[in-house]
Amino acid sequence: METDWTTLITQLIWIIFFIMIFTGANQKIQMKLWGIDIRNKLSLINKYLLEDRNKIENILRNLGVETPSVLIRRATNFFTIDPVSIEPTDIIKRMDHLIRISDKSFRNLVSLYVKNIDKYEKSLVETSLSIYAAINQVYKIIRHYLLLAEKENNWILLMQLELQMPQILKIVETYHEALDPFTKGKPIGDSAGPLVVYRLIENGKIVSKTVVEETSITELWMDNRRIYVIKAEGPGSNVGRPGHVLADLVEKLNGNVDLIITIDAALKLEGEELGEIAEGVGAAIGDPGPEKIAIERAATKYNIPLRALIIKMDFKDAIYTMKKEIFEACERAYDYTRRLIRELTPPNSTIIVAGIGNTIGVPG
């Protein structure tokens, strides 16, 4: 009797196996499972969105905004269209123009609803809304592909989505956690560049300070050299326009600059140590193009040596509150910068040092 049952079960398994193989039912089951898994992850992203939305709404209400949901909806749906790239002539100029208008329009939009607050608080609100908009965009795109794949029975699309979901979820979690430093004004990993140059400002003999396009230029004397320190104006959430300001400064000095150093946070490769410092040549700046090209053009025009110093970290460390390891790396980078200046230039030289990145929590 026992042997009969065993044979029956084995036969049944084989029959089910063949039916599934020939009808494609196994793929349908797999699709269902993938769909369930993606939906679970999507509902997790939705949970993050609701949490962040409540947080931002509370902040806006505390700042006196009567209808925060209207501002959040408008800011979330705000978009910028990329310039035409199949005709590359003057693309940098067009891109620069669009970035400027985009920044200005977004700020004006926030100003319409959030009145009578200082620049610092306003910058925190703007960045918080941008983070919320980014998570919302990811949510909408995933939902779009999930529904599309189910509607058209496209299992390749669903499989791609399922395989990419862990990575996408990691990015979303990073943005979700990044809301904390941006609502409280704490320095983030990307503030490494501004923090290093702020040390120069603190320890040098300041001659003058000007602010142009939300970017500060501090002229100081250090190690018997004239140093111009460029960074976004802090301590609000601001990246400034260091490329254009640096190019204008070089023009103003008629190209009489002996060295340009850019200091920035850079993404590390897996396996590399957090806070590792590396030096090289070129403009260390991660903008879409206009700022970087402005530095390169200014340095090339007057044949000025262009050196770069990077502090390595991963994406999560770059937009989350600065880790102690990164702060310690900034202290090392400060000493490194001073050593580079002494090694590469004679006394009485003129040097421009630009600290690139978001200056949140770092004044100057």
Partner: protein, 95 residues
């Protein structure tokens, strides 16, 4: 090749146990997310004494806050950073 019904049942039980252990370990791995504490590092500009304390809302780098316990000079915030919660808060040495 013939199988005894007991062999099939034992195989299923062992497979289930292995699966449960595997899923439990995976779940534990996911739950082990590091938590962080935000700290503020203050430094005395006169004697160089440094102290690490818990971050308070509104603080920023360069802010003058509190007085040095060694020389009574106003202290300056030189860093705000996060440390993993399992690490013990350390009091930095006089530099």
């Amino acid at each position: 090749m013939s199988f005894n019904i007991d062999t099939i049942i034992y195989t299923l039980i062992i497979t289930t146990i292995v699966m449960v252990i595997y899923l439990y370990m995976e779940l534990r791995k996911k739950l082990q997310k590091p938590e962080y504490d935000t700290k503020t590092l203050l430094k005395c500009p006169k004697c160089g004494y440094q102290i690490e304390k818990n971050y308070e809302l509104g603080e920023f780098i360069g802010m003058v806050k509190g007085k040095c316990s060694k020389c009574n000079t106003p202290m300056k915030i030189i860093a705000i950073y996060v440390v993993e919660k399992r690490q013990n808060p350390e009091k930095l040495k006089n530099t």
